[in-house]
C-alpha cells in the first residue's frame, strides 16, 4: 500500500534496524512488519524534524554570510554533527536527503542553473561528516573504556570534520566559482576558509550541549558533573575571563584592532582547569561577545580575521577541556582498577590464610560435634539433668557464635568494599585485623600484643586499611623469631594524621618468603590512595617497625 518497490522496502527496513541502536531501543527481535509500521515512521519523523531544525539554523546564520556563499558562524553544522554522532554515521545519507528536501521545500536554497553541482554542494558535507565520525568512532571504540568514548575523540572529530568537508568541497566549489569563466583563486580559498570556520564554530558551540542533553535524557542523571565545580574555582575562572576580555578591549582602544589572544589563553586555561563543560562556557561567552562586533557593517576581511581567531579560541579551549576530562577519567579509571587489584589481593590473602582459618574453624566445630552428641545422650537419660543440658547447650551456642564471628570477619574482608570512606574506630579496626591474623600467628608460634591507647576515629576506606594492617601483620609473623616472638600493634594520632604501627623483632635466619614484597607494595598503594604514606624503619632494639600514616579526614587529598 506504500507503493514502494521491494528493494526500497528492504533498504528502509535496514535503515530502521540500523538506526535502532542509536535511539536506544536496539536488540528487539521484532518482525520486519512491526519495524515497518512503528519504528520507521518514528525515524522518518525524526529525520523530518532534523531537516526543519537544520534549515532554521541555516537561515539564522545568514546574518553573517560572506561572499553570498558561506556563513562565518554556521550553527546548522553543529546540529548535523551532534545528530550524526548520536545516531551513528550510517544515518548520514538519510540526514543529507532530509536536509536537502526540507531546505529546497522551504525555499531557503535556490537551485542554480547547475542543479547537479548545487545538489552535491548540499549533500556532500553531510556525507563527509558521516565518514569522519565513522572513522573516529571506530578507531576510538577500540580504545574505549566501558563503552564510553574518550572525550578527546569527540574533540578530534569536531576539528577534523570541517577540514575534511572543506577539502571534499573543492571539486564542486571549483566549477561554481569559475562560472564567470576564470577561476578567482583568492576568492575561492577565502570562501573555503569561511566555510571551515563557520562549521568549526557551529560544531564547537552547538554540538556539545546537544550531546549533553541527549546523554542526560538517556542516563537520567542530568547534572552530575556540574555539582563537582567548586565555588572558588568558578570565581577564579570568571575573574580570569573578565580580565582577559578587558585586555582585549584595551588593546582595541589602543588601536591594535580586535586581538583575541588574551581571551584565547583564558579559554584554554578554562579547559585545562575544569574540563569540557566550562571550556564550552568560555567559548559561548567569547562568541556572544564577538558575534555582535562582526555583524553586517564590518568588512569581510575584518570579519574573517576575527572569526579565525575565534575559531582558534574555540579549538584550543575545547581540546584543552577534552584533554583535561580525558585525564580526569584516566585517573579515576586507575583508581577503579586499583580497587579491583586490592580486592584480588584480599582474596589472595584469604586463600593464603585458609589453612589457619580451617584450624580456627575445626576447633570450635570439634567441641560442637562432641557436645551435641553429649546433649543427645543427656536428654535420652531416664531423668535428664536440666542443668547439664543447659550448660552443654550454652557451650554449643558460644562455639557457634565464635565460628559465625570468624566467618563474618572473613566475608567482610573478602568483600569488594565500598567506594566511599566511612568513619571507623581504629581500636575496632585494629582488633579486627589482629583477630584475622591470630590463627596464623598461633600456627607460627608467635603472639600479637595490642598496645592500647585512647580510641581514635578516622574517615578511611575501612576494608582497605584493614587489608593494609593485615599485610603488615602477616609480614611481621613471617619475620618474627619462632617460637615465642611477640608482635606489637598500636595506634596514635597527631597533626591530622593517624598512625597505625606494627612492630616485630626479627629472627636472624628469616627466610625471604614469597609474597612479602607484594604485600608491602599493596600496603603502600593503600596508604597513598588515602593521601598518606608507609614508613618502615629499624628501631634501636633491632626490631622492624612499619607505620601507616593516614589523614584523619581525607579532605587533605593531594
Amino acid at each position: 500500500m506504500w507503493g514502494i518497490s521491494q528493494a526500497g522496502r528492504t533498504w528502509l527496513t535496514a535503515l530502521a534496524r540500523g538506526g535502532a541502536s542509536a535511539f536506544g531501543d536496539a536488540g528487539s527481535a521484532a518482525p520486519a512488519d512491526e519495524l515497518w509500521s512503528g519504528k520507521l515512521l518514528r525515524r522518518l519523523l525524526v529525520l523530518f524534524a532534523y531537516g526543519i531544525a537544520f534549515t532554521l539554523l541555516r537561515s539564522a546564520s545568514s546574518h553573517w554570510t560572506t561572499h553570498k556563499l558561506f556563513s562565518v558562524w554556521f550553527p546548522a553544522a553543529g546540529l548535523r554533527f551532534a545528530f550524526l554522532w548520536i545516531a551513528g554515521p550510517r544515518w548520514a545519507p538519510a540526514a543529507a536527503l532530509a536536509e536537502l528536501f526540507v531546505s529546497v521545500g522551504a525555499g531557503t536554497v535556490e537551485l542554480s542553473n547547475d542543479i547537479l553541482l548545487s545538489l552535491l554542494g548540499i549533500v556532500a558535507p553531510c556525507l563527509v561528516y558521516g565518514a569522519v565520525i565513522g572513522i573516529v568512532q571506530k578507531r576510538m571504540r577500540r580504545h574505549s573504556v566501558n563503552g564510553e568514548f574518550d572525550p578527546l575523540a569527540f574533540a578530534i572529530a569536531a576539528v577534523l570534520g570541517p577540514m575534511a568537508a572543506c577539502i571534499a568541497a573543492l571539486p564542486w566549489a571549483l566549477p561554481l566559482s569559475s562560472r564567470s569563466g576564470s577561476i578567482d583563486a583568492p576568492l575561492l580559498f577565502s570562501a573555503l576558509l569561511v566555510f571551515t570556520l563557520g562549521d568549526l564554530l557551529g560544531i564547537l558551540i552547538l554540538a556539545p550541549p546537544i550531546l549533553w542533553l541527549a546523554h542526560a535524557a538517556r542516563s537520567g542523571r542530568p547534572w552530575t558533573r556540574a555539582q563537582q565545580w567548586r565555588r572558588a574555582r568558578l570565581l577564579e575562572l570568571s575573574l580570569l575571563l573578565a580580565s582577559a576580555w578587558a585586555l582585549v578591549w584595551l588593546l582595541q582602544r589602543v588601536g591594535d584592532g580586535l586581538v583575541l589572544a588574551p581571551a584565547l589563553l583564558a579559554a584554554c586555561w578554562f579547559g585545562l582547569r575544569s574540563g569540557r563543560a566550562l571550556a564550552w562556557v568560555a567559548i559561548v561567552v567569547s562568541t556572544l561577545i564577538v558575534l555582535p562586533m562582526t555583524d553586517n557593517p564590518v568588512s569581510d576581511a575584518v570579519r574573517l580575521q576575527v572569526h579565525m581567531q575565534l575559531a582558534c579560541l574555540a579549538i584550543g579551549a575545547y581540546l584543552a577541556g577534552s584533554y583535561a576530562d580525558a585525564q580526569a577519567r584516566a585517573i579515576s579509571e586507575i583508581g577503579r582498577r586499583d580497587r579491583l587489584l586490592l580486592h584480588a589481593e584480599r582474596l589472595k590473602t584469604v586463600r593464603a590464610m585458609s589453612v589457619a582459618v580451617i584450624h580456627e574453624l575445626s576447633q570450635p566445630l570439634s567441641t560442637i560435634a562432641i557436645e551435641a552428641r553429649a546433649l543427645v545422650e543427656a536428654t535420652q537419660a531416664p531423668q535428664p539433668d536440666a542443668e547439664e543440658v543447659r550448660s552443654i547447650g550454652s557451650l554449643i551456642a558460644v562455639k557457634a557464635d565464635h565460628m559465625a564471628e570468624l566467618i563474618r570477619r572473613l566475608r567482610a574482608f573478602g568483600s569488594s568494599g565500598s567506594e566511599s570512606q566511612t568513619v571507623v574506630s581504629l581500636r575496632h579496626l585494629v582488633s579486627d585485623a589482629v583477630s584475622l591474623a591470630t590463627p596464623e600467628a598461633a600456627n607460627g608460634q608467635v603472639s600479637i600484643a595490642c598496645v592500647g591507647g585512647p580510641d581514635v576515629t578516622a574517615s578511611v576506606h575501612d576494608v582497605e586499611i584493614r587489608q593494609a594492617m593485615l599485610n603488615l601483620l602477616r609480614n611481621a609473623i613471617a619475620a618474627a623469631p619462632k617460637p615465642g616472638g611477640v608482635i606489637t600493634v598500636g595506634w596514635s594520632q597527631a597533626d591530622g594524621f593517624v598512625r597505625l604501627w606494627v612492630e616485630n623483632p626479627v629472627a636472624s635466619d628469616t627466610p625471604r618468603q614469597r609474597g612479602m614484597g607484594l604485600g608491602l607494595i599493596i600496603t603502600r598503594t593503600i596508604a597513598q590512595a588515602h593521601g598518606g604514606r608507609l614508613e618502615v624503619e629499624t628501631t634501636e632494639t633491632g626490631a622492624v617497625r612499619s607505620t601507616l600514616h593516614v589523614p584523619i579526614y581525607e579532605g587533605s587529598e593531594v
Binding site: I358, S362, A374
Partner: protein
C-alpha cells in the same frame, strides 16, 4: 577393664580439652583436661598417666615436642595425637618418630578416639609390665636379651658383643632369674610387650 588408669587430654583450646575429657569420662575412662602442656609436664611426675591425648598445634609448645619431653619423663605413656590441620608428613612422624598410637583429625571421630585411647592404655600397661620386669637388668644384660629374642645363638651373641660364650651364658641365667622368663619362648613374649612403639 582399665577403669582407673589416667588419661590426660591436652589442647590449648580449653573448651575442647574439657569436651574431650567429658566424652572419655562418659565412656568410663578416667580423663583430666589440660590446656597448657608446660604445666602438665611440671605436674606429670606426681601423677603419671597411662595415655595422653594431645593437640599438635599449640601456642606454648608444639605437640610433637611435648610428646618427646613427656617420653623422657615416662617412656611407658601412650600418646594419641589430634590435629585440626592434618598433613601426611605429620601423620607419618606422629606414629613412626614420636611413637603415637594414632593421629586423629578434628572434628574428631569419637569411635576412633575411644578405640585409640583404649589401645593406648593396653599398650601402656604392657610397657609398664615390661619395664618393671626388666628394671633390674644391667645394660649388658639388656643387649643380650635384645639379641636373644632376635634368634641369635649364644655363639653369635658372643661374637656380636665381643665377649666369650661363657659370659653370654651367665647373662642369660641372670636374665631368667630377674624377669622370671625361664625359656626362650617366654623371653620372646616378654620382648613383645615392648613393641608397638
Amino acid at each position: 577393664m582399665s577403669g582407673n588408669e589416667l588419661v590426660y587430654v591436652v589442647d590449648d583450646d580449653q573448651d575442647l580439652a574439657a569436651s574431650v575429657s567429658r566424652l572419655l569420662r562418659r565412656h568410663d575412662l578416667h580423663a583430666e583436661p589440660f590446656h597448657d602442656p608446660v604445666s602438665l609436664l611440671d605436674a606429670y611426675s606426681a601423677a603419671p598417666a597411662a595415655c595422653v591425648v594431645t593437640d599438635v598445634m599449640m601456642d606454648q609448645l608444639d605437640g610433637f615436642e611435648f610428646s618427646s619431653k613427656l617420653r623422657a619423663i615416662d617412656p611407658a605413656v601412650a600418646i594419641v595425637f589430634m590435629t585440626a590441620w592434618p598433613a601426611t608428613a605429620h601423620a607419618v612422624d606422629a606414629v613412626r618418630l614420636h611413637g603415637g598410637v594414632d593421629y586423629l583429625e578434628k572434628p574428631i571421630d569419637e569411635e576412633r578416639l575411644l578405640s585409640s585411647v583404649r589401645e593406648g592404655l593396653e599398650w601402656s600397661r604392657r610397657a609398664r609390665e615390661f619395664s618393671t620386669r626388666t628394671a633390674a637388668l644391667t645394660a649388658r644384660e639388656r643387649d643380650v636379651l635384645a639379641l636373644l629374642v632376635q634368634g641369635y645363638s649364644n655363639k653369635a651373641i658372643a661374637s656380636e658383643l665381643n665377649i666369650s660364650a661363657r659370659t653370654v651364658d651367665d647373662h642369660r641365667a641372670q636374665i631368667s632369674t630377674k624377669t622370671g622368663a625361664n625359656s626362650l619362648a617366654k623371653l620372646i613374649a616378654l620382648a613383645a610387650l615392648e613393641q608397638r612403639r
